[in-house]
Amino acid sequence: MSTTEERSVAATNADGSERRRSAGRALVPDVEVRTYYDRSVLKRPTWKHWIAEYFFLGGLSAGSSLLAFGASRTGRRALARRSRLVALAAVGGGGAALVADLGRPERFANMLRVAKVTSPMSVGSWVLAAYGPATGVAAAADVLGVFPRLGAAAEGVAAALAPVVATYTAVLVADTSVPAWHGARGELPYLFAASAGASAGAAALALTPVAENGPARCWAVAGALGEVAASTIMERRLGELAEPYHTGRAGILSKAASACALAGAAVGLLRGRRRRGAIISGALVAAGSLLERFAVLEAGRQSAADPKYVVKPQRERLDATRPSESE
């Protein structure tokens, strides 16, 4: 990683007492951050583990809808059916996770009380309200063997909305004051899109007979590699703000995510045409995608908890515009 991330940051409390946190050797002179008794400027996100699980399940569902669409257009009936079912189950589970995270779950329907373009959560709620039922109709028409035209239309709707379902969650977290999220606003959509593709490919790879798993293998491998690439680029661009992504719990989660993704991609490439290999590869890639979501959530929490991530960039921005005041 870049050298800037190894800076140590000395923070001085409002009262002048010094606190020092070193994230490696000090390569650049210390920059002083003054705070109010070391308290964070931001509130920590109140979102619990459900939100990371929803991000994973929403991505899994969206990717599966795309796979189902492609599979049914290319005559892969086993892949199509399994992907439709995964898409439905995942969006159902994801929706339940979203409701579980609410402080007042019985009021979940208030999400559709208004429609606001300034709120990615509002946009997402409306998209999900159309997307969820579409996956349900597509899966039901297939399994029950009824209304094939309606099923195909629903599948088209689900596939059209799927890319939005896979990426709006990145805008949702980026549209906050949390430094590790807002700072990564340009890269998170790609990370989430790759993660969605990887998990859907992984699920299909593990569940589909080898004869039809070509596209799934493709997605699992490419998605996993894309996920690792996106997170690497994101951390590089974040500079000092990447620290929350590779320290503490988030650091462990993100390293585990990359390890799983890379191992899964390797197994998929070498052994993906065999049943056992396909299952192992699918499990590893899916685990990588899930861990990556948890890493992003945790990095956000960590960056919100430490005032230096908020104060330092803002102070530097301010001092750059009126340089005469400092020193």
């Binding site: 109140t46 959560m121 070509g214 596209p215 956000g300």
Partner: protein, 301 residues
Amino acid sequence: MSMTLPPKTPSGGRDPAAISGWAQHPDRVGFFTDTSICIGCKACEVACKEWNEVPDDGLNWLGQSYDHTGELGADTWRHVQFIEQRKRPGTADEGLDAPLIEHVPLAQLGREEGFRWLMSSDVCKHCTSAACLDVCPTGALFRTEFGTVVVQADICNGCGYCVPACPFGVIDQRRGDGRVWKCTLCYDRLKGGFEPACAQACPTNSIQFGPLDELKVRANRRVRQLHEQGFTDARLYGADPDDGVGGLGAFFLLMDEPEVYRLPPDPVVPTRDLPAMWGAAAKAATALAVATVAAFMAGRR
């Protein structure tokens, strides 16, 4: 909504009620908190709790001077801060990086060592471009006719989106309740023609309530006065309608840098970047769609 800033009033302020559907509305009101005359009595905290029936937030010894409430939150809507510095009041050049006074014998405090105590009553900023309001998916947070930002407790479903959105770490979820709570600028009292409870209780007029444009005139005069008296540290925070949040509905006169008071030095409403963020998502979504086609082309062989 507030991806575009509300228009400026003739006096140079901003009028967020006008772009929030209030055709006819009273002047925008707010707080000017002049921390130079705060005496740390906490009358505002008490008055706020009493009037708004804000629950107890614990009896805590935090090691933060006389501050036992820590920071603003779901159960603290006015928060009095205490900052101890080894520095003579009014001499700006002397030790901005004032060291801790803990090793100074009590008897010497305020004498040869030099000592100043900064006190400030913090509150929700009622931002012109309010992130909490922008991201709220239910419409529970809304802009009142007075230009303030209020949560409707009967609508909030506790999604928590406003909590990390706020650049000032103000709004928070209440434990055991699930909904979010913050200062309402005493919306009920304003409707009845009264000033907010904290402003009414403040014995030194450190908390001033009124039309925002008037408060700014008064605040600028106060800064000038303090500078003339030698208190060259005095500066306004949140009074600039062209800052990253379009100016604050509750602004401050501070005696040190904002971060010393747990205020972000250069806050920016995150929704300002929303068009760019949706743009990035659209590109990523397109890439995903293209990948679908590619996977099935490659898989066909």
